[in-house]
C-alpha cells in the first residue's frame, strides 16, 4: 500500500444537509490525505455544476463505492430532505476526497 502523509485540519460546517450528525457552525477535525473510509463523513470536492461553475468544498458521507466502478465513491447527505448526493452529482474519484472527518472539535452551546 502507498504511504502518504496524513495532516490534520479544521473545518466549519455551513448548512443543514448533515443533520442530525453535524449542524451549522460545528468545527470538525479532518485528516487530510487519509484513506477514504466508507461509512464515515468526509470533506470532498464536488464536480462543477452543469454550467461549469465550481461547487464549494463540502462535507458528505461516503456510503460506499460506485456500483458500476469500484474505484469511485458514492456520497450522501445525512439529512435525507436536504443536500446534494451522488444521485445529483455522480460518484467521486479518490482524488476528490480531501479528507476524512475524525470528529467534532467544537459545537456552539446555543
Amino acid at each position: 500500500m502507498r504511504l502518504r502523509p496524513v495532516l490534520p485540519a479544521l473545518v466549519r460546517v455551513r448548512g443543514r444537509s448533515m443533520l442530525p450528525t453535524y449542524r451549522e457552525g460545528d468545527v470538525l477535525l479532518v485528516l487530510r490525505g487519509a484513506r477514504p473510509r466508507p461509512g464515515r463523513a468526509h470533506v470532498v470536492h464536488l464536480p462543477p455544476d452543469r454550467w461549469g461553475r465550481p461547487r464549494p468544498l463540502s462535507v458528505k458521507r461516503l456510503t460506499g463505492t460506485d456500483p458500476d466502478d469500484p474505484h469511485r465513491w458514492w456520497v450522501d447527505s445525512d439529512n435525507p430532505a436536504e443536500g446534494v448526493t451522488s444521485f445529483d452529482v455522480g460518484t467521486l474519484a479518490e482524488e476528490d476526497i480531501a479528507g476524512v472527518v475524525a470528529g467534532l472539535v467544537w459545537r456552539s452551546l446555543g
Partner: protein
Amino acid sequence: MLSLFRITDVSAHCDLPCGVYDPAQARIEAESVKMICQKVADNDDPDFRVRATIIKEQRSELVKHHLWVLWTDYFKPPHFEKYPQLHTLFNEATKLAGASGTKGEFDEATADELLAKIEEISTIFWETKQG
C-alpha cells in the same frame, strides 16, 4: 487549502448551492393537466372524474409552485430590467393555473394557453443562460 491553523468553511447546504432551475418542471405538470382534461372528455365515470378533478387541482398547484420558484429564486433584477414583460408573464401564467384557469375547469384550450406562457418564460430562461 485545508489547515490546522485556519478554519475552512465546508458546505452542507440545504438548497443546491449551484442553483438548479429548469422551467421543464412547470411544463411537465402543465402537460399532466392538459392530459387530464383530454381523458375526462372521453370518460363519463363519476369516480374517474372525481379523481381527475383532485389530481388536476394538485398538478395545477404544482405548476404555480414551480413558476413562483423561478420567479422569486432564479430571476434577478437585471433579468427583469432586460425582460420587462417577465412579471406580467408570471402573473398571467400562474393565473392560468389557478381557480380562474386550469384548476377551475376542464378546458384543454386553457391548458394550451398555460403551456404557451410557460414556453415564453422558458425561452427567456434559456436566453439568460447564454450570457
